[in-house]
């Protein structure tokens, strides 16, 4: 008898089989003495256990036992009633965190903005050798837009003389 058959026999005893399976097991029992013997053993054990659990008594007096339950209930009621006090750091953190977050966002935004329009950056982008004592050049280059803008300034006159846009390939 394999494991599945043994468990099926047990399910038969416990009335956990479908009517069809039940019929199959009944037929099987009629021809298999080993199955009948095992079923008889399982039945005997189940009958012996039924209603024969040892009676155990609580080894504590009624009043003492109940007083412990009552104390536990009082303790839990107090815990629930008490306002939840957050630690100082946690309370501070609650206010500091949004402020710090906003400040960080502003700084990052400012840095990005500065990087995009800074003349120094533009001059760097333009490359060295494009400036002289009389002239200076600032170049803005956008790969995405496929364009370069060059600002030319006349340093001697301290006035901007011209600017032109050059399309790149």
């Amino acid at each position: 008898m394999n494991n599945d058959q043994q468990l099926k026999l047990q399910s038969y005893l416990d009335d956990e089989l479908s009517p069809r399976e039940n019929r199959q097991v009944t037929e099987w029992l009629a021809v298999d003495s080993d199955a009948r013997a095992l079923l008889a053993e399982l039945k005997n054990t189940t009958s012996a256990l039924s209603g024969n659990e040892l009676e155990v008594k609580l080894p504590e007096g009624r009043d003492f036992y109940f007083s412990k339950i009552q104390r536990q209930l009082e303790r839990e009621a107090k815990v629930q009633a008490a306002p939840v006090r957050e630690p100082v750091l946690a309370r501070l953190w609650k206010y500091v965190l949004p402020l710090a977050g906003t400040a960080a966002a502003v700084i990052v935004f400012a840095m990005v903005l500065q990087k995009q329009i800074s003349p120094a950056t533009l001059a760097y982008v333009a490359g060295e050798g494009e400036t002289s004592e009389e002239m200076s050049a600032y170049t803005y280059h956008s790969q995405a837009d496929g364009m370069t803008v060059v600002w030319l300034a006349d340093n001697s006159a301290a006035t901007e003389v011209s600017s032109e846009a050059i399309e790149i390939q």
């Binding site: 494991n3 956990e16 005997n44 609580l58 036992y65």
Partner: protein, 199 residues
Amino acid sequence: MPTTPDYTSQADSELVKSSQKGDMRAFEELVGRHRDKIYARAFSMMRNEEEAIDLSQEAWVKAWQRLVQFQGDSSFVTWMTRIVINLCLDQLRKNKRQRAESIEAMDEDGGGVERHLPVVTVNPTEGLERGELRQRIDKALAQLSKEHRTVLILHEFEDLEYKEIAKRMGCSIGTVMSRLFYARRRMASLLQSLKKERT
């Protein structure tokens, strides 16, 4: 002058209603009536007096806190027993984790030992006086592993179906069937040994 109700003469259902309204004296009467049964279930599962006292006490605390949820679909004592069983199962899982063993890995039931036990052909409990029978059953139960004992208790003493046991124990129906089969076969063998010891 208001008279104190005679709680001892009231039915459980009346005491439950009063307790649901916050009457602690009514609840005390319920505890007094059923404390042995609730403790006994905890003890049968844990086999440890101290743990059983703590868990049964915790069950009563939980019952008071959840009393409004009790709708009377089952008897009060059945509802209470379910609470203590769940607490015991939680505790067994915790104990298991502390022993660094997975509850699913516990698979002595799948080892096939039970398949090789010889069938006990003569009923080992036949003709026994009830007190003696109960003693022997308790002694045999104590020798089972906690998982096998739990399945046997839930099925034989609490009349739970395979599906319900699997749900409560957090395992598959197949595992329940396997554990129950092993537990029954082992019980038959242990009861037979106890019979031989006495004769």
